[in-house]
Symmetry: C2
Subunit: 423 residues, 2 copies
């Protein structure tokens, strides 16, 4: 084993330093056992963590016993956890595979903090990386899925990504180290085996150094994605306004649909929704699309983006004054004044609804609230958040916008009701 290759890989990718404690994820299989032995041989301080998922009957317990003995021999601390994986999967409504992965990484991170380790080391190697890339390609992917497995991701590091499966097995044989063998128990593993045992050998017939080729492509695409992501971030800064996306600016960008995707996908919109939203760009305003937490509306010049939180109910403060000639009617929109004697019914605050109408201050005819708001050039989302203050059935104030003419102060007014919006 060329130990220097591993040290170089660790240093070049800044995985960790000699003074970091490393928590090694130890299944007992060849890869993780080799990882532990290699890191110890290189003089790093290691502790180990083992998950018993109880998915393979006695085999699960055999593995646990094996890692217990191994860590005793190597004299390193070992943490073990038992999961009721099937139960957890049901509880979380996910596949057993997904549940196992989540449980595993959650617990590793918890243990990392508890034992004060700098990083969690996982034993993925080059063959895993090649297989992951092919698996993603087959299932359909973007630029991220074609970069293989990355050496570092937050606190997770993968020092063995500089080695192939064959080198790892040879190393274990050379030091006489045993390991356990997993019977396959995940669909994902089943597919990976197919890629490993059938697909890759077939590709190898066309190009004997297929793995090196794919790894080189993956590395190159990693750089491409860095430059791509920088481009996306710049374009986002260019087209995003406080309220949403400027449609004209978006359409002037070189790859508008993909840019839209990169903005909306993280907000929980799916591929087909984003396609629909893109096609709605040159249609009439008014269409609304929703994800779990966000809402999008095609407005005149903007694609409005809004959190789905309930419209915030304004807080109104009310005071009565005697009306004297010296009284000055406040001009700001936050305050409304009424003739208190005209308010004969109980007051209530609600969102406006279709069909609502009022007589705007200074006018004599009724006007529909919807028309009034459209004339104000309010966006769809602003319209939705319009509150009205009612006296019985009558709207007396389109809050923060305009009062109703019927409740205005006039020459006969004796008492003034002043309502202030404190939101």
């Amino acid at each position: 084993m060329n130990m220097q290759k591993i040290t170089q890989f660790i240093n070049r990718n800044k995985l960790f330093s000699q003074k970091d404690k490393i928590l090694v994820a130890l299944s007992g299989g060849a890869d993780s056992v080799a990882l532990l032995r290699l890191l110890l041989a290189l003089g790093y301080t290691c502790e180990a963590a083992h998950c018993n998922f109880h998915l393979r009957g006695t085999e699960s317990d055999r593995d646990e016993t094996f890692v217990r003995n191994l860590c005793k021999t190597l004299q390193i601390p070992l943490y073990i956890i038992h999961f009721s994986t099937e139960k957890e999967a049901k509880k979380r409504h996910v596949s057993i595979e997904m549940a196992a992965r989540t449980l595993r990484y959650e617990w590793f991170e918890k243990m990392r903090k508890e034992c004060d380790a700098g990083v969690i080391a996982i034993a993925h190697h080059q063959d895993d990386s090649v297989e992951t890339l092919l698996l993603n390609l087959i299932r359909g992917t973007g630029i991220n899925g074609l970069q293989g497995i990355r050496p570092i991701n937050g606190k997770i590091v993968r020092p063995l990504l500089c080695l192939g499966r064959k080198e790892i097995i040879e190393y274990l044989e050379s030091i006489g180290q045993e390991y356990v063998t997993d019977s396959t128990n995940f669909q994902d593993e089943y597919t990976r085996n197919k890629i490993r045992l059938n697909l890759l050998p077939m590709m190898q017939e066309i190009n004997p150094s297929i793995k090196e080729s794919i790894l080189r492509t993956a590395g190159y695409l990693n750089d491409v994605s860095i430059i791509y992501n920088k481009g996306i971030e710049e374009a986002k800064r260019h087209i995003l306004t406080e309220k949403g996306i400027d449609i004209n600016l978006l359409l002037q960008e070189p790859a508008p649909e993909t840019l839209l995707f990169e903005i909306l996908y993280p907000l929980g919109f799916n591929t087909s929704q984003i396609k629909d939203i893109y096609q709605a760009l040159d249609s009439q305003s008014g269409k609304i699309f929703t994800s779990a937490e966000w809402r999008i509306a095609k407005d005149r010049k903007l694609l409005l983006i809004q959190s789905k939180q309930e419209p915030h109910k304004p807080i109104l403060e009310m005071r009565e004054y005697n009306y004297t000639p010296e009284f000055i009617i406040p001009q700001d929109k936050k305050t409304a004044c009424f003739d208190a004697d005209k308010i004969s019914n109980p007051l209530s605050l609600r969102l406006w609804k279709q069909g609502d109408s009022f007589i705007p201050f200074g006018m004599t005819g009724r006007k529909k609230i919807s028309d009034y708001l459209t004339n104000c050039k309010y966006s769809i989302f602003q319209k939705e958040e319009q509150w009205v203050l009612c006296c019985g059935e009558d709207i007396i104030w389109l809050v923060e916008e305009r009062t109703d003419n019927r409740f205005r102060i006039d020459e006969k007014t004796k008492k003034v009701l002043i309502v202030t919006c404190k939101r």
Copy 2:
């Protein structure tokens, strides 16, 4: 056959318009025959072009006869050319496959101009695109190789990229149109057959809609590459100076090695050279790398890039004057003045060479030309282009830089030799 799908594809990708004449590349195989029939059915004006490569004995002639008859029946003009492909391959030192491709596209373009067609239509379809992507992935590729076949490339258009092989065969059967079948004769075709017949079916077992997946990935990567290329162009503008690449700015970029690759690869440097150049960035100055037409040198702060053209020999103009007290010695570097009587040997102009030395004007000691140029902070390439004017063995002028003290004008000078550099 959903004809509207093809029209939409043609229009959306702006392949050509109804008034364009289309030159259809017609081999006689299913794809090109279907292409011709479909374009005619859609009302486009077509002419056809057929290459007989004489690579498959009587089969080549059978194909020619078939397309002759087909075009006669369809009443469209047909152009035919015969190539001595094997001979051409030898002459051009390329594979037969490469020769056939080059001959074909060169002739198509020539015929397109002659018959005044707007575009050349090639019958590549979706399965070709998927196979090309996989072939590139297996051989090793970058972002460009993962975009599949593009619908438009200059005057080449591919209207069938909206159809699969199966749809094309079904269409031909539905209209009762015959076609010829090629026996495989290219290595590339052999590999493609392997991908089509073995690899793709195996991938289909993992994902039944593998082709759609790959095509979607390819389309997405096309957008990624547009944004990536824009990013590369911006970075280039940022780090390129008139003389080469600013090393500090390069290293501050997010993916410096790939950026370097994108700049140097088009200049004919290969992957391993570019790796070496990248590693030389933090080494001592002086290393030089060459491609067929360019030279690169690591200088202090720059990676100098220069065309390999021979240094341009300056043109010197010489005149003699009587030296009078009114004579004003010109101060510009383009002009040098000598005491004509001191020039006793023939003059010659050459590039300086290691070991050369002279006595700089105003000094008494000898100085090596190499040290002198280094003190001037000349770049490696500027140094290489330094000419010297000699009188016999003595250097009398470091051209456009400094004259030699021994040949200077002094109180005894009677005649002045004025040399002007006219380059």
